[in-house]
């Protein structure tokens, strides 16, 4: 009798009967898509903010010089008063070469006459954090008797903000859908497990097991599967995102580039926890529901 060394209990739920593997694959694919959606959404958010911030912190001032001869003097005056007004900013004239370059798309490589009264372009770049007040600069220059126009990129900035928000909304929608699918899959899998293991439950109820005892079995099983599936999916999603972010960013002007950040993985951890919890909760909920139904039936 003593050669019978059964020191560890067998698991009460039949692990072989219901097919854990394909469930985990499904959960992994869902998590993979969710992870990509999260990373894309974070990326779009950050990218949008960066671009907007940068645009809002730079401006181009066009100084309308009275005549080519006075250009040099007026430029110096303007620079001086701008630097006085914005001591933190990086202010520099673009120079005629640069001015002409900017015109090239429209004028071609035409030899422009030297005496063309081209406006003097001055670029202003603020320290991060500050934003530009166009009217204030205009006032400063007008006090010096200078005429200027300011392009503060506000139109572009709005555009980019809207795009980023749209992208984020799309990513969040996908995320919500994937979570919905996760809940449905979990509920489905638990129901399947419960009907496969109906005999086990019947016996457990008969020998006097508490509902919580039975529910715990299914919650643990479903949670473990959720954890495995979402972990695999999230890790693969992270890998895919890293690979995508290593692409040549110029390849796709229309697609926002993924610019990853290590803090993003925090959200992936949240994703894993979320899917695990959803699976467990669906399992617990379904178990209690079925137990109650069985009880009512008899």
């Amino acid at each position: 009798m003593d050669e019978f060394e059964n020191t560890a209990s067998q698991p009460l739920l039949n692990t072989a009967a219901d097919n854990a593997r394909s469930l985990i694959i499904v959960l992994a694919i869902m998590s993979f898509l969710a992870a990509l959606a999260i990373l894309l959404s974070l990326s779009a958010d950050r990218l949008g903010k960066n671009w907007q911030g940068e645009l809002q912190r730079t401006a181009t001032i066009q100084l309308l010089v009275s005549s080519p001869e006075l250009a040099e003097a007026e430029t110096q005056t303007a620079l001086k008063s701008l630097r006085a007004a914005l001591p933190e900013a990086d202010i520099s004239p673009l120079g005629t070469v640069k001015s002409r370059e900017l015109l090239t798309p429209w004028l071609g490589n035409i030899e422009l006459p030297e005496d063309l009264p081209l406006p003097v372009l001055i670029s202003v770049t603020l320290d991060s954090g500050d934003t530009l007040s166009a009217p204030r600069i205009m006032t400063v220059l007008r006090e010096e008797g200078l005429l200027a126009e300011i392009d503060d990129h506000s139109r572009w900035s709005d555009q980019i903000g809207k795009s980023a928000r749209g992208l984020k909304a799309a990513a969040l929608t996908i995320l919500a859908l994937i979570f919905g699918a996760g809940i449905a899959i979990s509920a489905f899998a638990t129901q399947a497990a419960l009907s496969t293991q109906r005999d086990v439950i019947r016996v457990l109820v008969q020998v006097g097991a508490e509902d919580s005892f039975i529910a715990k079995l299914f919650i643990r099983q479903a949670g473990l599967r959720g954890l495995k599936g979402s972990f695999i999916g999230a890790v693969l999603g992270l890998l895919a995102a890293v690979i995508l972010s290593l692409r040549n960013p110029k390849d796709t002007a229309l697609l926002p580039d993924l610019n990853m950040n290590w803090t993003d993985s925090f959200y992936l951890v949240l994703l894993i926890i979320g899917i695990t919890l959803i699976c467990s909760a669906a399992a617990g909920f379904t178990t209690y529901r079925l137990l109650r139904r069985e009880r009512r039936r008899s």
Binding site: D199, V207, G208, S298
Partner: protein, 249 residues
């Protein structure tokens, strides 16, 4: 030593003749119908005193299994009063019901063994559910399995057992937790007379240690060998003895 050996336990607490005559099961004017069907049981009065041993007979479809289900809390009566261990089951909470079930051992017509658990695990299940430690019950389970003649298939899966072996495993599971009430539905249907008599000896050993026993069976030969109470269901009513004569509460 088998845990049910009466010799090794001379100090069984309240033996039937010792304490007051307490009713383990008490039915008062119990009626039962399934759904909108006819009443299967009508105005059943029944008392099982602590330590009693009772056979329940009746033709196929008479309502034997139904009566037993009421006793082991798998069915609710349509009307009337059922007391188990002196408490009214209709006012029990879910947790109290489950606690009560832990005091009842049940052997069913279909054995309800769990397919993916070994015979040992199946038999140990009631102890595991109450949270007992494996080290504490391991020896008891093994001894009981030896006693019912399943010592050689302890680690086998139920499907690999013969019908009679499965029945014995189911009986072992019912008695392992030394229940206060043992209910068996046709426990000898699948075994030959030799093993049948052996199983009944197990039940009567349990009974001598204080367990109240209620067995439904068709096996008239078996009944005639034992000098115990006999009840009979006929047309939804309960009678005492193999002949006519109504049981009164």
């Amino acid at each position: 030593m088998p845990i049910i050996n009466p010799v090794s336990s001379p100090t069984v607490p309240p033996a039937p003749e010792a304490g007051a005559m307490v009713d383990v099961v008490r039915f008062e004017r119990v009626g039962l119908r399934y759904g909108r069907g006819p009443e299967i049981l009508t105005d059943v009065n029944m008392r099982l005193a602590r330590g009693s041993f009772t056979f329940l007979t009746g033709s196929s479809g008479a309502g034997k299994s139904t009566l037993l289900k009421l006793c082991y809390l798998t069915l609710k009566q349509s009307r009337g009063l059922i007391n188990l261990f002196e408490s009214d089951i209709s006012v029990m909470s879910r947790a109290e019901q489950q606690a009560t079930k832990q005091r009842i051992g049940v052997v069913l017509q279909d054995f309800r063994l769990i397919d993916h658990l070994s015979v040992f695990e199946n038999v140990a299940l009631p102890l595991r559910v109450t949270g007992e430690k494996r080290e504490a019950y391991r020896q008891d389970v093994m001894e009981l399995l030896q006693w019912v003649g399943l010592g050689h298939v302890m680690e086998a899966m139920p499907q690999t057992l013969s019908g009679g072996e499965q029945q014995r495993a189911a009986i072992a599971r019912a008695v392992i937790s030394k229940p206060d009430l043992l209910i068996a539905d046709e426990p000898t249907g699948n075994v030959d007379p030799v093993i049948g008599r052996r199983l009944l000896r197990l039940f009567s050993e349990m009974n001598r240690m204080g367990t109240t026993v209620l067995i439904a069976t068709h096996d008239i030969n078996l009944i005639s060998e034992f000098s115990v109470d006999v009840m009979r269901i006929e047309n939804g009513q309960l009678f005492s003895g193999l002949e006519n004569g109504r049981v009164h509460g």
